[in-house]
């Protein structure tokens, strides 16, 4: 049987998180269809048809699908579910919003935030903020799953050639109305949800010096974080803190600047996909977890890095 991936999009473009969900579906070893439900989202359906590994795109267009409201989207998926063994979505806020509702309507369990497919019934997912991994098995007829995007390398967005099938929309449930969106485009992304995080530690030395961290963050379109030492020293406010008592983050790229790597900090960022450390102390524990380490003076290296990123 086939797996169904619910596309994440804004009616204009396919969100790349969908490619990670398709990658997870590919690990199931079975063909995969994509549902593109939205409003005036033909371009998204066309993009989805290009994704490698997709057999069929189901395109459902109606005004009440424009914002992915779970009350309307869930019944649509439930209608399709009889044909599928798995229903997957990226574990974005949209995916997390709708998939459990689908599961309840199907009277099946849901598997959240999977990081590994062992077999089509068995999955690994983090629990206890990633401090423990649980291997769980579902014998439900349909497995409903959200996928941690950083755990599955995206499939190629181009190179596929799926058919696009139009799907008749269901009714508007009339339970919820979209009123607006405040996207934080102009300012930096929110720490917990950011794709890239640049954090500064005590090595930054002062509140004024933190500007150098912010500059690098802006260059990368990243959120700004800090170690507890930097927060305690008063360089930045409390809500910048990454670590056990602050926020747990798992971005695609985490850049630790002037951070020694106390265990509390590591606990807050160890699930990041790629970790970069810049520190003058070669012995700093941060290097034990960093994929790429650069030993050097951050006041020299960070400006150089900003410059190199421009090239």
């Amino acid at each position: 049987m086939t797996a169904l991936v619910i596309a994440e999009h804004n009616n204009a473009a396919l969100n790349i998180a969908t490619l990670n969900a398709v990658a997870a579906a590919a690990k199931l070893g079975r063909p995969c269809d994509i549902l593109v439900a939205g409003h005036q989202c033909r371009a998204v359906a066309a993009a989805a048809a290009q994704v490698v590994g997709v057999a069929k795109v189901l395109h459902c267009d109606a005004p009440h699908y424009a914002h992915g409201l779970a009350e309307n989207l869930a019944p649509l998926v439930v209608r399709l579910a009889a044909n599928y063994s798995h229903v997957l979505a990226a574990a974005t806020t949209n995916g997390k919003n709708v998939v459990p509702r689908i599961a309840a309507l199907l009277d099946v369990a849901q598997l959240s935030d999977i990081i590994e497919v062992i077999d089509p019934e068995t999955f690994v997912r983090p629990i206890y903020a990633g401090n423990v991994l649980a291997t769980v098995q579902s014998s439900d007829r349909v497995k409903t799953i959200t996928v941690r995007t950083t755990a599955f390398d995206a499939v190629a967005a181009q190179g596929g050639n799926a058919t696009i099938e139009a799907l008749a929309p269901g009714p508007d449930a009339g339970l919820s109305t979209f009123k607006g969106e405040e996207l934080t485009k102009s300012t930096r992304p929110e720490l917990a949800a950011a794709d890239i995080v640049v954090s500064g530690g005590r090595g930054v030395g002062s509140a004024e010096n933190f500007a150098i961290i912010e500059k690098l963050a802006d260059k990368l379109g990243a959120a700004v974080g800090a170690s507890r030492a930097a927060v305690d020293a008063g360089y930045v406010p409390n809500d910048y803190q990454v670590g056990q008592t602050g926020k747990v983050v798992a971005p695609t790229l985490y850049v630790a600047v002037g951070i020694s790597g106390a265990i509390q900090h590591l606990a807050g960022m160890k699930d990041s996909k790629v970790i970069v450390a810049i520190n003058k102390d070669e012995e700093a524990p941060i290097f034990q977890v960093a994929d790429y380490g650069l030993v050097g003076d951050l006041f020299k290296e960070v400006p150089a890095l900003i410059e190199a990123l421009d090239k």
């Binding site: 919003n97 459990p100 509702r101 369990a109 629990i127 991994l133 769980v136 009123k179 790429y292």
Partner: protein, 249 residues
Amino acid sequence: MKILVAVKRAIDYNVKARPKSDGTGVELANVKMSMNPFDEIAVEEAIRLQEAGKVEEIIAVSVGPAQCQETLRTAMAMGADRGILVQTETEIQPLGVAKLLKALVDKEQPGLVILGKQAIDDDSNQTGQMLAGLLGWAQGTFAAKVEVGVDTVDVKREVDGGLQALTLKLPAVITADLRLNEPRYVKLPNIMKAKKKPLDIVTPADLGVDVAPRLKLVKVSEPAARAGGVKVADVNELVAKLRNEAKVI
């Protein structure tokens, strides 16, 4: 209007969880347990709505072993009016919890159900959405702001990249995110008063709900320690690696 608030007894957020050495579960013997922090936010929101005159009664509900009475007492010390414990010694998964809550909603007829968006133990983030689905109600998940009107509720939701504003028809289910509010400190005299508030105990069987687990836990393990990578010579090599090898920028 009545509000029903669901509260889970979970490992305290300061305590580091560790798998049992035989991999059958997480070591919880004599470990500090507390109300799930997101549920605390849910209780606080209900109390604020009551203080604003929007709500007559707050019912706190918990599902789990007898010790969940403590969690309900905490909710009542914060300000909930009464508690209901669905007592069971077996682990109940989110779908089962949602079904139990639905049974209580059918009985109590609240206008609003507020839950934490997820519990910090199993990190499922499912129960609120499932409950809304089972009830056929609107859902306002990951709420950062809640404004209750006459027969609707406006919810600002934390979504990737910003906030989304929705208007939901009442009755509705709301799940609380971190920024919704900051829960109050529990006061000593209120702890004493909470001991005298009504607390009913029912079982899943009383409610006629099948709560058999659907997912089988095969094992739990500690995540593999992260291995260190390479040292790069300079920023140019770093940028090259990030672009071509890791492909993250």
